[in-house]
Symmetry: C2
Subunit: 338 residues, 2 copies
Amino acid sequence: MQDRRPTIEDVARVAGVSRATASRVINNGRGTSAEARSRVHQAVDRLGYRPNPAARMLALGRTDVIDLVAVGFETDSARFGTNPYLSRVVAGALAALAGTDTHLRVRLLAEGAAHRSIDEIARTTTQGAILVNVPPPLATRFHDRCERVVSLGATADRVPAVEARNAQGAHAAVTHLHDLGRRRIAAVHGPAGNTCAASRRVGHLDAIRATGLPDITGDGQFRREAGYRATARLIATRPDIDAVFAASDLMAAGAIQALTAAGRRVPDDVSVVGFDDSVIATAVNPPMTTVRLPVEEMAAAATRTLLDGGAAARWRLVFPVDLVVRASAAGAAPAGTT
Amino acid sequence: MQDRRPTIEDVARVAGVSRATASRVINNGRGTSAEARSRVHQAVDRLGYRPNPAARMLALGRTDVIDLVAVGFETDSARFGTNPYLSRVVAGALAALAGTDTHLRVRLLAEGAAHRSIDEIARTTTQGAILVNVPPPLATRFHDRCERVVSLGATADRVPAVEARNAQGAHAAVTHLHDLGRRRIAAVHGPAGNTCAASRRVGHLDAIRATGLPDITGDGQFRREAGYRATARLIATRPDIDAVFAASDLMAAGAIQALTAAGRRVPDDVSVVGFDDSVIATAVNPPMTTVRLPVEEMAAAATRTLLDGGAAARWRLVFPVDLVVRASAAGAAPAGTT
DNA sequence: TTGTACGCGTTATCAG
DNA sequence: CTGATAACGCGTACAA
């Protein structure tokens, strides 16, 4: 059917001009006669010509793509879509890329066999890569092969990273619950291998110790189902729990469901605080008090750093976090706001 | 600091071989002596050589990127991250791309000035583009400039599309509520310009007419806040409402919040059904009965079509939808399952 | 204003 | 097994 994609050569021939003129017309039209412009444009339309991006990039010597590489949060990669985090990262990165001629390429790695993939990605990365949820060893490996990289969230020492004050956020969350009069605060933590989860553990423990509260802890892998189960187990063990701090909004959502199923009212009987301020936090019932992570801003900052040529090893940029108070853990009764 | 990225020429020189040999070694190593292989690999490591993707693509004559172009669901592009839809599309597309050497490029268009952008994207698209939430006129314009395109969800007639049986889903949802004994079913619809929203309106209206129920309708723009407001307004107008069908999970989440704020219990007093089966549906309290849209499968199908060279004008692929029954609108009391 | 000629970095072809 | 050399499609000095 189609012989071959038409090249600028074909356009020039049809228009009766030289390649150079055709190129000039197509790119900006400067220094060309109206006559030539019209004929070239006509030829372009007739042939359906579209420049070959590869050739153009090669000739201009510009690289124009930033990779967003994420390791699957969910074991099943098909379920990655349930993670409310990625789209915020994409949004932030794209916001930073607006007005640039740089594009965003998204890559998703299965949790298991990511070693080979990481090598291949490092090899083909041009402008740079943003690492999301990439475990420290893998991040180091990437950095060894390609220095133009920024991790979103703390990772291996050497790898440049944009971080958030996770420990401080967890501390603020627990303190808030304490201020509400809660004294038996359960914590549902994230996966042990995750650096963000680790920081939140630290902040939680600090606050627990500072206030002299008991350490009631469960594990939730950041996932809702696990948050549900962990909370159900905690209730069974310690029926007197009066608050839950979860290290992610999804787990907090699971906690609310588990508490409701167990006959506890939120926030009357038990207060709940989440972490992230993802879309989940505002969608659940009651709306969720949570620690806001400025994901979009962080992703934008990482992107800009890459656009500027990358960062030195060990480079860090730290963002503050905010406690957003909603109905699931509030003082008076500001309840159901829209 | 760095003069210039090393080329394969440099590698060849350092290794003391020709470009051709270096290329052979780097690509697959077939038909090369162990001696040559070792020297080339050493040179590569020493120089930190990484092949130029543009040059490689040009030489191979292969295009290797599919564009995912979405028009902002939210007016504020920074809030795009709150949409639970995109990540499912990304997940589906990437699943179809696994094992391929084709990459996924994500583009986000502001709702307003998208005309110029669409032209630029159509011009630089190579392997093809997946259109998400692109209004019919814009989709047509894109198709005029680049035929390798598939729309996710119905759009202009001519543009190839992967669709879901939206009308059928809405019909099933309303019928389900009717089967539960609900007789005053309110509907919260999506934006008028959106084709999916339109189909769901049709399905809803059909079911309403078939069962002889009153038509109680509000508008929600697919967004949670609007769903909240629309529901609040409907309750005020018709306090006897005993069910809500919302054309998106986000709006259904808003509806649940509004009902709770108004003192109604879900599902005891009012049943609620959403649409999408996004992460929202499982995270809310109570878990939401909803119409499952196989977004991942649809995105994967669209991607495969593009990989296979695209589709003819007016091509259609239609997916079935499923009613997923959870606690927010259920028969007996299967309530809080995890 | 236009055309000629070369370079961008890589891979494939074809002798040796 | 290796090394010249010719594409690949485009942009742009430079010369006309």
